[in-house]
């Protein structure tokens, strides 16, 4: 018999506990409680501390990351009901122009303009996209891609709402740290609410529409109305992000409809993983600071950024979050081969 001592193989074991059985929470010991709580509490706590410790430039990056995070969450919600959007810039721009316009022309304070832009932007986006809600897949994506371009060129040529110069000297939020906290809290609240929503019966119907809309229709459910509701929710979140940025910059221009706001959220979801919202959040929290820290490289920044993105998509098609989640629930030990 050959000597096989010292040869090891990897042994993998999935944790047997079903952490959450719909309504019953299995809490057996402190160890289990920490096991469940830690991956949730740690990122939340970390994000809540960040605005207090960061200053200046990196605090702005944090606000940016949260804004892109909100757009990514809004993208993920639409994707959950089968609407693949390439037009998050529409949501962002609608909120930005509503808040900016209300502030510039009517001199309303941010306390009024931000909520108004959130609701109004949601309604506007749902209203604009409701007529094309019957389109599926790439056709819907094309229309959403066109809308921000259309509005951008419309503002450029007609000169309404400040035209190419934009609207400046808008009211700021009181304090940079407060803005950062507002962004972080909104981001966390949105993440929490969307995760609750998608696990409810309402979310079940939304995901069923993505999987087989005819089966849902035969269940007596008006899928177009449900999709419009999802558009309103996603639009509101995107519009809030836009309104926040407008008051943060104290300036509003056509760049609110820039392609960046459409593409980066999709990239964030591609990196983080679709369907759980946590993936979208994680993706944007990695991508935005990464892209900022590569700024020192100058022109090479975008090239390197693209390579990182491509490698992650090829190597981890399920998304970083789903990979980490799977690994977290697995024990890996080295067992001696007998």
């Amino acid at each position: 018999m050959p000597d096989r001592k010292g040869i090891y193989r990897k042994k993998r074991l999935d944790r047997g506990i079903k952490a959450r059985a719909d309504t019953i929470y299995l809490i057996a010991s402190w160890r289990e409680i920490f096991y469940l709580l830690l991956p949730r509490a740690f990122p939340v706590g970390f994000l809540l501390i960040l605005p207090a410790v960061l200053h200046g430039y990196w605090q702005k990056v944090l606000v940016f990351a949260c804004v892109y995070g909100l757009l990514a969450l809004s993208w993920d919600l639409l994707a959950s009901c089968g609407l693949f959007s390439l037009g998050q810039a529409l949501f962002f721009g609608a909120g930005a122009y509503l808040a900016g316009g209300l502030n510039y022309y009517l001199h309303l304070p941010p306390l009024v303009t931000v909520p108004a832009a959130t609701v109004g932007g949601g309604l506007l986006c749902a209203g604009l996209l409701a007529p094309v809600i019957r389109l599926r897949g790439v056709y819907f994506a094309m229309v959403t891609l066109m809308f921000p371009l259309l509005l951008m060129r419309g503002i450029e040529t007609t000169g309404v709402l400040g035209g190419t110069h934009g609207l400046s000297a808008l009211s700021p939020f009181p304090g940079e740290t407060l803005t950062a906290y507002l962004a972080v809290l909104a981001f966390l609240a949105c993440l929490f609410l969307f995760r609750r929503l998608i696990n409810s019966d309402y979310g079940l119907v939304l995901m069923a529409i993505r999987d087989d809309d005819r089966a849902v229709m035969s269940g007596g459910i008006n899928i177009y109305w449900r999709k419009t509701q999802a558009l309103f929710l996603a639009g509101s979140v995107g519009a809030f992000a836009g309104a926040l940025m407008t008051h943060h910059f104290q300036f509003l221009g056509m760049s609110a409809f820039a392609l960046d706001y459409s593409i980066l959220p999709v990239a964030a979801v591609a990196l983080g993983g679709q369907g759980s919202f946590a993936g979208a959040a994680l993706g944007s929290m990695i991508l935005v600071p990464l892209s900022e820290s590569l700024r020192a490289l100058g022109g090479l920044r975008i090239a390197l950024y693209c390579i990182i993105l491509m490698v992650s998509i090829v190597a981890l098609p399920e998304g970083l979050f789903h990979y980490l989640e799977r690994k977290y629930h697995q024990f890996e030990t080295r067992a001696e081969v007998e």
């Binding site: 089966a215 849902v216 229709m217 459910i221």
Partner: protein, 255 residues
């Protein structure tokens, strides 16, 4: 006029053409409240298209469909389902990555079920499991909680039936419910449908298993090449010369 003889569903000269093929041509029939109607016909005779025309999944080129005297021809499928016409699919359309009982939650979220005073927040899971229990998915077994994709075909068909019944319909349309089911599965499902019929549900049943069909239905409608060739009691239909020709003698075995 007694309630039993009231017309609940009327189809008037509907027609549908797919390219050069006349899938359904000038088919008319009436369904009385509480009636059990069977629709038979060889493959490609337009049975499923007729169901799609009634339930709004396909828009007819001509003709009308009336439900309780109301013209529902141009309605969307969800509106027709909302009014109380539920259907099953020949190729079951389910959500395979969801637990079986979660499939039933979706119709329970509809406004029809809410209107009928059921499906309030927090009761839907129990209602779904109850409904599946009636369909032979025993609540104390693991079956209702397994993902639909891991269940055998016969269970999927019954799950589709449960999904249709969750809407509390007034008309139930079964599109080849028994296809792909084993004899024992058919034997256990047929009494369920007979029970629904006895409780006053109007049923249209499309079926290739003529023996089982002829045992339970009140009336049979025969389609061939998109046209109605016979309409009457099972006995009359079996004696019809044209039907015998269309089926090339299969009826002889049944008799």
């Amino acid at each position: 006029m007694s309630k039993a003889s009231e017309t609940i569903l009327a189809v008037e000269r509907v027609r549908k053409r797919f390219g050069g093929i006349l899938a359904v041509f000038d088919v008319s029939f009436e369904l009385k409240a509480g009636e059990f109607l069977g629709i038979i016909g060889p493959n490609g005779s337009g049975k499923t298209t007729l169901v799609n025309l009634i339930t709004g999944f396909v828009k007819p080129d001509g003709g009308r469909v009336f439900f309780k005297g109301r013209d529902i021809t141009s309605f969307m499928p969800y509106r027709i389902a909302d009014m109380g016409i539920a259907r099953t699919f020949q190729m079951v359309r389910l959500f395979y990555n969801l637990p079986a009982y979660k499939n039933i939650i979706i119709p329970l979220c509809s406004s029809r079920v809410r209107r009928l005073g059921a499906g309030r927040y927090g009761e839907k899971d129990d209602m779904a499991v109850d409904l599946l229990d009636d369909m032979g998915f025993e609540r104390d077994s693991y079956v209702p909680y397994k993902t639909a994709g891991s269940l055998p075909h016969g269970y999927l068909k019954r799950l589709d039936l449960a999904r249709a019944m969750a809407l509390r319909p007034e008309v139930l349309i079964l599109d080849e419910l028994f296809s792909g089911m084993s004899l024992s599965e058919v034997a256990s499902t047929l009494p369920l449908i007979e029970k629904f019929h006895e409780e006053g549900l109007s049923i249209i049943m499309i079926e290739h298993r003529l023996k089982e069909l002829f045992r339970v239905v009140d009336r049979v409608l025969v389609l061939n090449f998109g046209r109605k060739i016979a309409d009457g009691s099972p006995q009359e239909v079996m004696e019809n010369e044209e039907v015998r020709k269309a089926y090339l003698g299969i009826e002889v075995e049944i008799l």
